[in-house]
Each structure stands twice: as structure tokens, then as C-alpha cells.
Symmetry: D2
Subunit: 249 residues, 4 copies
């Protein structure tokens, strides 16, 4: 194993130890933590979540990745199928994709109407505002990957027999509709970035660096023991409000 890899392993372990300590604190304090992972296909959501939850408390942690809505769900209030999964006191819930489907894949692929897209962009901040006022600590992460790196990762997936279940029929659209996804992302970051639940952008072309910085950001946002974490690298994790010109196109 290379030196660089050793350094990553050490840093990762230190951050995982701090996550354990910090979660123990949120449990004691009864804090509600909601972490939203969004980003294009292969941007590194699964890998980051895996490291964050590796040593987490099984009883107080849930990773939520909802399947496609049923027809009945489609006719309901949009947030209804997400509501049962929100954290209770002391719980950490990680959404691997979330209600923001309606600001990304759904409008890009035509799975919702433009009017539903607009309605969602108005609703999301209001909904999150209410949760925040009810004590939910919301951490929203946009994992940003370049077109070239995505192409590489999607190709590797197809060839890797271990990644068979990661390959999806939508993968090919990720590249061919790249610009439409960029446009949807820009609108999402514009309209749904607000004080109670701001967006943080993470550059993920370098996976390992991204993971460490995501963990630092989460730790510092949760606070308590987590406040001891190093600041994330400002070139890797930055506020959406300051993302101008820094997002992959």
C-alpha cells in the first residue's frame, strides 16, 4: 500500500472515531440529524455514506433510499412518502437521494410536469424551514462530479462484475442529458438554498479527498465533540451561495 493511501486510511479512521463520539453526543442530547446526499450518478454518494455509517449506532441510524413511488404515492402530497423517515430525537437519518429527485431526475427525464417542478422549488424551502424550526438539523450536500470523470466511472461499472446492481437503465442518460442536469442543478441550488437548510457543494472527482471533507463538514455542523474536526478544505467543500463559476459544467 502506498504512503498516500496510508495517510487516507489514518485520516479516515480518526474522523470515524470522532463521528462515533459525536453521534453518542447527539443521542444523549436527543438531537435530530438529517443528512441529504444529492448528486449525479456515480458522484460518490454510496461510498461516502458507507464510510459515515460504518461504525454508527445501528439503532439510531437509518439510511433511506426510497424506491420509485407507487401510483398511489404519486397522487399524494409530494413529501408524504418521505415524512415517515424523518429522524426522531437522537436519530441520524441519511437520505441517499431525497425529495430533490423532483429538482433533478424528474424534470430532466420528464417524470414530473414543469408545474410540479416549480411547485416543488417553492415547497422545499418551506418544508425544510418547518422541520428546522421543529429541531431537525438539516445538512444538504451536492456531490459535484465532472463529465469526464462520470464517463470513466460509468464505464468501469459496466465492466466490474461486483457492480452489476449499480448499473441502471438511466446511466446512459446521465451523459447524454448532461447539460439538462446542469441546468436543473443550477436552479435547485438557486431556489432551495436557504438559511435553515443551506446547500454545500462537494467536488468529488477525487473520491478520497471528498469523503474526508464531507465528514469534516458534517462533524462541524453537528457540533458538540464534532466541533474539534479540522475545517474542510474550501476548494472541496463550499457553500452553494459561493459556488459561482466553480461548478462542473
Amino acid at each position: 500500500m502506498s504512503k498516500k493511501s496510508d495517510a487516507y486510511d489514518d485520516a479516515l479512521e480518526q474522523l470515524q472515531i470522532l463521528l462515533v463520539e459525536t453521534q453518542a453526543w447527539t443521542i444523549d442530547e436527543g438531537r435530530k440529524t438529517l443528512i441529504v446526499f444529492e448528486g449525479r450518478d456515480s458522484a460518490g454518494k454510496d461510498g461516502a455514506i458507507k464510510r459515515i455509517t460504518e461504525y454508527a449506532s445501528p439503532r439510531q441510524t437509518r439510511v433511506v433510499a426510497l424506491p420509485k413511488p407507487t401510483e398511489r404515492e404519486t397522487s399524494q402530497w409530494y413529501f408524504q412518502r418521505y415524512a415517515p423517515h424523518l429522524p426522531a430525537g437522537g436519530e441520524t437519518v441519511i437520505f441517499n437521494r431525497s425529495w430533490y429527485n423532483r429538482a433533478g431526475v424528474e424534470p430532466v427525464m420528464g417524470f414530473c410536469t414543469p408545474a410540479q417542478h416549480e411547485q416543488f422549488l417553492r415547497d422545499a424551502p418551506r418544508f425544510e424551514q418547518m422541520l428546522a424550526e421543529n429541531g431537525v438539523n438539516i445538512i444538504k450536500l451536492w456531490l459535484d462530479i465532472s463529465k469526464k470523470e462520470q464517463a470513466k466511472r460509468l464505464e468501469e461499472r459496466v465492466e466490474d462484475p461486483l457492480k452489476r446492481f449499480k448499473v441502471s437503465s438511466l446511466d446512459s442518460e446521465a451523459q447524454s442529458r448532461w447539460d439538462a442536469y446542469s441546468g436543473a442543478r443550477d436552479r435547485m441550488l438557486d431556489e432551495t438554498d436557504h438559511k435553515a437548510a443551506p446547500w454545500m457543494v462537494v467536488a468529488t472527482d477525487d473520491k478520497k479527498t471528498a469523503r474526508l471533507n464531507i465528514m469534516r463538514h458534517i462533524l462541524r455542523t453537528i457540533g458538540g465533540p464534532g466541533a474539534r474536526a479540522d475545517k474542510p478544505d474550501g476548494d472541496v467543500v463550499f457553500a452553494a451561495s459561493k459556488a459561482s463559476g466553480r461548478l462542473f459544467r
Copy 2:
């Protein structure tokens, strides 16, 4: 049976027939209907709901009367335990008591903090606004009973062996805390009456008249075939915004 009773039975049946026709229309149209019944103990909620649902479609109708929240639920976002019960397309959901517990029994009995009470009064209209914009037709009814009539009904309950399961340990508080309940009701009507989900007040000292008028109001608000219903009697059903001086004290 008296003539008066016959006339009630006839009017009730005609309204029930119209309800069936109107529900068939909401099912066809995929409309979402949410009816909220609130009111003091013994104000007539159960009896009115029974007549409304007697011939309703079993598959598209749900009466929701949630038990006391568990400790875990108490730590969640306040509306979380209600969300799974909201209507899907074509469904009619009737809440027999609702989130408005937090504007009535909870602050009066000390089951929530004053801060939670205030937070709720801010949240309820925002939450309902979002539902309304997502196509939920919300009908909120406050069943208003006089102190004397309540005393009479609560006494009768205790003596009636068929009403054993209606008697609650909170019944005695209903009378002794009458004024506190009046104050909570006034604030609720003031703060949570809004265009997207207005409150209607129903005088229920005369049960049968109240039931007929409730049905008329519901039918006309849903529309479609229901628009053919007679106007409710303005002395029995009236907008909260015009309730000044007409509420029982």
C-alpha cells in the same frame, strides 16, 4: 315516531344519497378530500362522522383517530405522525380530532409547552397551505357546544352502559377548565383561519340540525354533484371570521 323525526330521517337520507354521488365523482376525478372535525368533548363529532361515512366507499374513505403519541413520536416533527394518513388521489380522509390537539387539549392540560403551542399556531397554516397547493381540499369544522349542553351529555354518558367506552378520564376537565378551552379555541380560530383552509363553526346543541348542516357544507365545498345541496343554515354553520359574539362561552 314523531313527524319531526321523520322529516330529519328523510333529509338525512337525501343528503346521504347526494354524498354517495359526490364521492363517486371525487373518486373519478382523483380529488383529495380532508375533513377535520374538532370540538369539545361530546360536541357531536362521532355522531356526525358516523352519518357521513355510513354509505361511503370503504376503500376510498378513512376515519383517522390517532391514539396518544408514543414517546418516540413526541420527539419527532409534530406533523410527522399525521402525514401517513393524508389522502391520496380519490380518497376522503376524516380526522376525528387532528393536529389541532396542540391548540386545544395539549396546551389546556399542559401536555405541551407554551413554546410548542406557539410554534404550532405558526406551523398549522403553513402546513395546510402546502397541502392545499398540492391539491388537498381541506374542510375544517369546529363543533361548538354550550357549557350546559355538554354537562348534560357527559352525565348521560356515564349512566348509559352502551357509552362505557366513550367515558374518559378527561371528561371532568372539560367542564372545570371550560374557560381555558374557550380561550384556546379563540386563539386557534384567530391564528389558523386562512384562505386555503378556513374554519367553519357549527352550533351543535341541536344535534340533528347540526348534522344536516354539516353535510350540506361539506357537499357544497367539495362541489361537483354536491353543489346541488341546499345552503347550510347560516345560524348553524358560519365562517370563523364572522363568529364574533356567536361562539359559546
Copy 3:
């Protein structure tokens, strides 16, 4: 109102009072009660259940009428979708149709394979045996109606605007496949009548008489205060094991 009708109303009220007292006892004792209503369309299940639950404890009583299984449910263990509805301590659960669909409508209409039908006939007594040994008091009722009376009721339904939601696309099959349903019923009673959960047959051409006798049987089977109920009329309620020659054909 006629004298006969008055007598029925009085008897019904007395039995309802005794049901309330008996349920209070099962709640105190933590007993689990499961009542299964089966029978052809229009045999009187809804009406009987309505009278039994009219004054029951809302918190400890559930009427379960499951919709058609989803595709996913169809692939599961057959009893899986019923299991969540079984009674906890102190609860009374009434199944309005039940797992016995697989011994009636499903084989008759071709909704299951003959092998699934056979498997079910073997499984049902084993499943119920296990429940019984785990303290569930199972009361199984087959409501038996004559072909002529069914024809009359189904016709009345179609013409009654209040019964619109009772009319089903399967109604016409009830008469045209009468004999197949009789055969399925006979096999069901033969194979799934066992000591831990015996079948009782109820003749329901006379609705009111049937209701009173059903209530008497339930009360006496539950016991406690219910033991005071009169014996059901042996011409109306009788054990499946003694049904030979008495079932409608």
C-alpha cells in the same frame, strides 16, 4: 314501528350492552379475540359487524377488510399480509373476509392455482393452531344464505342509490357460479374445521334473527360476562361438523 321490530331492537340493545361489558373484561384480562366473518356476497357480514362494533372500544377494536393483494404480496408467504393485523393483548379483531378467500373466491374465480388452494387447506388449520396455542381466541363464522335470497339482495343493491359502493363487478358471478361456490364452501368446512378454531354456520336468510344469534354465539365463546348470554338458536347457528344436509345449495 311494528311490535316484532321493537322486540328485535330491545334484544339487540341488550346484547350490545353485554358485548360492551364483555369487551371491558377481555381488555382487563388482556385476552386476544379474533372473529372471522366469511360468507357469500350479501350474506350479511357488513350488517352483523356493524352491530357488533357499534359501541365497541375504538382503541381495542379493529375491523380488517384487506384490499386485493399487490403483486409483491402475491409472491409472499400467503398469511404474511394478514399477520400484522392479528390481535395484541386485550384487542378484538374482526376480519371481514379473511385468509379464507383462498378457499372461496380465489379458486372459484381462478385467482389462485389448484395447488395453492390445496396448500392453503393444509396450512390454515396449522396456522390457526399456532395462533390458538399462543392465546388467540378464534371464532370462525360462515354466514350461509340461500340462492334465492342472494338474488333478491343483489338486485335491491343495484337499485338502491345508498348501496352504490357495495355493488361489485363480481356480483353477477355469485349467482352464475353458485354451485362452484357451494363446492368450495363444502371443502373449506371439511378441511379447516378443527378443535382449536371450529367453524360455526349461521343461516342468514332472516338477517335480524341471524345477527342476534351471532352475537349470542360470540358472547358465549368469549366467556366472562358473555357467558350470561342466551344460547343461540340451534336452527340458526350450528357447528360445521353437524351441518350435514343443513347448508344451502
Copy 4:
């Protein structure tokens, strides 16, 4: 990294690739797979499950580790809270501890009565028999660890800040009640080993060897592409019926 470790990594990866292929086959065929992991604290259940599920289909795989039953659940049919988690067609469900709590921790720690323990030993094979006849492929694994190795692992846990959430108040009992646990295990293996759902014992003092052999056993039992897996080492994985004298005491 040592050679031995490299060999393990290679073997593991080959088995994981075969698991992916085999699961794809069970999905296509609509097969239901239920894998039960049982064993004393620190016997290696979590680690084995982690390797098995690492590349599994997220939509068709569920790891179920139920929390302590609520009071209401305690009053229900014992298997009721497990039933909703059973696999549908094409699904693989892994129980990390299971209903066999009632044959281990519950009787040893006095969380159930001796009568409930006996009832369970009678019920488990009947319940599993029914599932098996309904197409559920049940694989039951008892992970067997020596007293000395357990002592070592429990100690290491306490000192490892990453394992904070693995440490339980019951850990100390694992050693002090070692013999009672052995006795409960023996009875469990005796009474609940049956053709439709036999027990396999896995010696887990050597974790890595155990994991590889568990995967081989699972693959060969599922069949399809999995039939290509090497036979598990008969010293590591063996039928409970042939365990006499080979279980750790």
C-alpha cells in the same frame, strides 16, 4: 499486506462475484431466500453479513435486526413482528438474530417464561415448515465461538473507540452465563433442526475462514450459478445433526 491476507482477499472477491451472479439469478427466478444468523455475542455475525451484502442488490436485499419488542408486541403472537420482514419473490432477507432469541438470550436472561420457551421450540419448526412449503428457502446458521475467543473479542471491543456502539450491557453476561447459553444452544439445535430448515454450525474462531465457508454454504444451498462454489470445509461448516462433540463448550 501478507500473502495469507492476499489469498483471503482474492477468495473473498471471487465469492462475492459469484454471490452477485447468484442473486441476479434468484431475482430473475423470483426465488425467496431467508438467511438466519444466530450465535453468541461477537461470534462474527455482523462481519459475515457485511461481506455478503457488500455488493448485493439494494432493492432486493434486506438485513433485519429487530429492536427489543414493545409491550404491545410482547402480547402478540410471537412470530407476528417477524412476519412483515419475510422475503417476497426475488428477495433475499438476512436476519441478524431472529425469532431464535426465544431459544437463547430470552430463556437464559429470564426475558421469557419456561413455558414460552417450550412453546417456541414446538412452534419454530412448524412455522418454518409452512414457510418452506410456501417457497421460502431457509438457511439457518449457528456461528459457534469458543469461550476464550469470545473473552478476547469482548475485551477488544471495550477498548476500541470505533466499536462503542457494539458494546452492550449484556456483554458481561455472555461469559458469566456461558454454560447456560451452551445448554440453550444444545436444546435449540436438537428441537428445531428439521429437514425443511436444517441448522448448519460454523466454527468462527478464525473469522476469515469462517466467512469464506459461510459464503460457500449459502451459495451451494441457493443453487443456480452458486452451485459452482467450492464445498465448504467440513471442519468449519457442518450439519447440526453431526455436531455431536464438535461444539464449543
